[in-house]
């Protein structure tokens, strides 16, 4: 069980680290993807897009190094919840948008929503299995 929890933590961290790395080469395109969700005011979109990428990097590294893993997993769970609700809402309204998840321009589908739900479950699982341990905090 411990091994499974460790694997889940490392996989989740690596996945988000990879997701963030694919966005960095074209941050302007990612900002457009964020804008297309239409849940962030246009003036805040560039800052929010940059912050999302940075949080993915920081949380990904934290998970992989097992530093504040619970906090990192909860933060990613929050991001995933927003992504999932935003995507589902857009698809439900018939808005055709690129997910922007891994730096690509592929159109989001209900499969993307399902993938996010699975990742959300994984993040919550990692958070539940990572006990807060002040002694480990750097």
């Amino acid at each position: 069980m411990k091994l499974l929890a460790r694997a889940a933590r490392i996989i989740l961290g690596a996945l988000f680290l990879w997701a963030s790395v694919t966005k960095v080469p074209d941050m302007a395109a990612f900002a457009e993807s964020v804008a297309n969700y239409r849940i962030v005011p246009p003036s805040l979109v560039p800052v929010v897009a940059a912050a999302v990428v940075g949080v993915e990097i920081a949380a990904g590294v934290a998970l992989m190094l097992n530093l504040w893993a619970r906090a990192a997993a909860l933060l990613l769970a929050g991001l995933l919840a927003v992504f999932t609700v935003g995507l589902a809402s857009a698809l439900g309204r018939g808005i055709d948008l690129a997910c922007g998840c891994f730096g690509g321009t592929d159109a989001a589908t209900w499969w993307t929503v399902l993938r996010d739900v699975v990742l959300l479950g994984l993040a919550l699982g990692v958070a539940a299995s990572s006990r807060p341990d002040p002694a480990r905090a750097p």
Binding site: N36, R38, P42, A51, A58
Partner: protein, 185 residues
Amino acid sequence: MNTVAQMALVAAVGSALGLAANALSPHPAVLQQPVLSAAESGGGACAMPASDVVSRSTSAPPPWRPVRIGVDEAKGLCTACLAGFVDARGPHEFAHGHIQNAVHLPAAGHPDEAAVIAQLRTYALVVVYDGDYSCAVADDVAGRLRRAGLPDVRVLQGAWPAWVAAQGPSAAGMCGACGAEAFGK
């Protein structure tokens, strides 16, 4: 330090990292510049290609290019039944939702295309739309209709997302002629 404080710290460090990554990116987001969604951005969504400006300045007659029509104007025409609407998206997207009374004419063709074109001939103006901000598919279909002899064919600026955002009249259901075939029934 409790979990909430750790989350705040990771978020703060992450935000700073993100701003640094943006500054180092070859294509950074301009922080001071608001970013509109494609459907809200009149210039970015299905805008007239810049090459049109060049072609107008030459003496040779420019090749025909689909003319854009704004969503507000198209809505008025739709409500007054003064234009025919053509949905160039795939059958699943059409079934999920389309402009009211639009006919389905995907890029791949239609089982009864001649009848669809004949129906469209009854309109002085035909508006084509697809689901993508580039309007590439709608441009192709508009070109096809133009070559078939329809006099005034335009492409909806902002595509289907703009129509949805503008709350234009819409309907759902599969295309009568191609639906069953497209859905493998």
